[in-house]
């Protein structure tokens, strides 16, 4: 079952195309040809394209598609970066200094099992329906993985490397942290950043579904009320694509910052 190349296309590519065409074909058949599925439920494929062009150019519930996207992005990135700024140093310090771990860890473990989404109602109560409530929850969702991964990364520092640094003259705790533990932990820390970004993005969508007046989640909720599933699907696609792009971007950054890490498969 190797790669049977027929000309420039491999078997794998052909099957992929067949699969994609098949899905779209069935979709088209069920919605446009046989009309088994009503358009309020699932629109024919071509509607997706036309609606895409429609909301790209003119505002839909307040903003164009790009407008909603930017609103969402702003909020996500705001919460996300502030989570990095606090979470990573905290995780690092917790991982290196046992005292700090002893103080912070129990509180952290108590709050950790609560899904960040569960904080949304409380957050709304505290901060109102404005942006702050959303940023708080998003911050929380990115904060946890950053702390955990930074902590783990530092704890996984190889004692052998610490001994090597000691024998080369680095004797102070904070120097060892800076010269050995942090560089060694960098790949894991970046992994946590990636997870945090994914979590932040998800939390944003949920927050926007619940209480918002702009943004992709809001757009999808409004589309649902108006029985326009094509806009919902478009929202989903944009969210998915953006999420994938951000993850890809972070992976590239990881490779740049950690050129010594061997390639993993997935």
């Amino acid at each position: 079952m190797g790669a049977n190349k027929r000309g420039p296309l491999s078997r794998k590519t052909i099957l992929a195309v067949v699969s994609g065409a098949g899905v779209i074909g069935v979709w088209f058949a069920l919605t446009a040809v046989f009309r088994v599925i009503p358009p309020a439920f699932l629109p024919p494929p071509q509607n997706i394209v036309t609606d895409f062009l429609r909301i790209l150019g003119s505002p839909y519930v307040g903003h164009t598609l790009i407008g909603h996207t930017l609103v969402s992005l702003q909020i996500v990135l705001g919460g996300f970066f502030s989570a990095l700024l606090i979470g990573i140093p905290l995780g690092i310090l917790m991982g290196w200094f046992k005292r700090i771990e002893a103080i912070v860890d129990p509180l952290f473990q108590l709050l950790r099992p609560i899904p960040p989404l569960a904080w949304i109602p409380l957050s709304l109560l505290w901060f109102g329906i404005g942006i702050q409530s959303k940023i708080f929850v998003i911050w929380l969702s990115a904060f946890v993985p950053c702390v955990i991964n930074s902590y783990t990364g530092i704890r996984l520092t190889e004692p052998l490397l610490v001994k090597a640094a000691l024998g080369l003259g680095v004797t102070r705790q904070r120097d060892l942290l800076r010269e050995v533990a942090i560089p060694s932990a960098l790949p894991v820390i970046l992994g946590g950043v990636r997870i945090g970004l994914g979590a932040a993005w998800m939390t944003l969508v949920a927050a926007e579904l619940l209480a918002s007046d702009a943004g992709l989640g809001y757009m999808m909720q409004m589309a649902r009320r108006a029985l326009e599933p094509s806009v919902i699907i478009l929202g989903m696609l944009v969210i998915g694509i953006l999420g994938a792009l951000m993850a890809r971007g972070l992976r590239v950054l990881e490779k740049r910052l950690c050129p010594w890490v061997k390639e993993e498969e997935h």
Binding site: K163, T171, D175
Partner: protein
């Protein structure tokens, strides 16, 4: 003993070391006293688990003795220091640094300016014959290359003492031979005080001025053989490994030492 303490480079006085494992405590090293002179290449051999690595770690300041003290230049050793560089069996190179960055690590930490550092690094890269690999990362290197970088890293830091814990243990036989020759050559060019731990009797006789044979656990000194002082194998350092290893004097010594170690293993039922 005090006079010796002042004149010798490294001194161990009645050192005993315990180590804990699963609630039980073992005596790893039992009341060992030793003096190492400046510029001496001392090798410790012995059966597995005889405490030779632990003993070296005392000098490195990485382990505290349960009783007894160690000194360098007459002053008590209380912790690790750049003056006592360590080379490990598993290389311990910093994977996030290139070859050049690894070698200059100690210098950079001490604040030595870049120009000077670059020159030192260049010199040592030449010495270990790794020109062209300055910007490579450790994971791109073979075992032998990694260990050469590790040795260069320590050498570049100009410690007064080198502590080497089975540095060639992880290398294949051919690489190992070449590394021994290289180290011997480096030692001739830049003399330091060296304490070298190994399993291999060949290696011990080839490299060491003095060979210390340790007993099985708890480690004590079984016998000391003065290779250089008693000129047991003349002109040893100027010769190639293959030529040395086949000489009758070498083989006799090897038989003696190995006999002692074997007796230890059989007596104490280690295997």
């Amino acid at each position: 003993m005090t006079n010796e303490r002042r004149s010798a480079k490294l001194t161990a006085e009645n050192v005993s070391v315990r180590y804990e494992k699963d609630d039980k405590s073992f005596l790893a090293v039992d009341d060992v006293s030793l003096a190492i002179q400046e510029g001496e290449f001392v090798v410790i051999v012995g059966p597995s688990g005889c405490g030779k690595t632990t003993f070296m770690n005392i000098f490195a300041g990485l382990v505290r003795a349960a009783s007894g003290k160690v000194y360098m230049d007459g002053e008590e050793i209380t912790g690790p220091s750049a003056e006592r560089g360590v080379v490990f069996q598993q290389f311990a190179l910093f994977p996030w640094k290139t070859v050049a960055e690894n070698i200059e690590f100690g210098l950079k930490y001490r604040g030595i300016p870049k120009a000077q550092r670059d020159e030192t690094v260049r010199k040592y890269i030449q010495l270990i014959k790794l020109e062209g690999f300055e910007r490579s990362y450790p994971h791109e290197l073979s075992g032998g290359m990694k260990q050469r970088v590790a040795i260069a890293r320590v050498y570049a830091n100009r410690p007064q003492v080198l502590l080497m814990d089975e540095p060639f243990g992880a290398l294949d036989a051919q690489t190992r031979t070449i590394m021994q020759e290289d180290l011997s050559g480096m030692f001739l060019t830049e003399k330091r005080t060296v304490l070298f731990i190994t399993h291999s009797v060949d290696e011990a006789i080839y490299l060491g001025d003095r060979v210390i044979i340790m007993t099985a656990r708890p480690g004590k000194i079984k016998k000391i053989i003065q290779i250089t002082r008693d000129n047991l194998i003349p002109d040893r350092r100027q010769m190639r490994y293959d030529d040395v290893v086949n000489r009758k004097e070498f083989l006799d010594l090897k038989a003696d030492i190995w006999g002692l170690i074997k007796a230890e293993i059989l007596e104490k039922h280690i295997l």
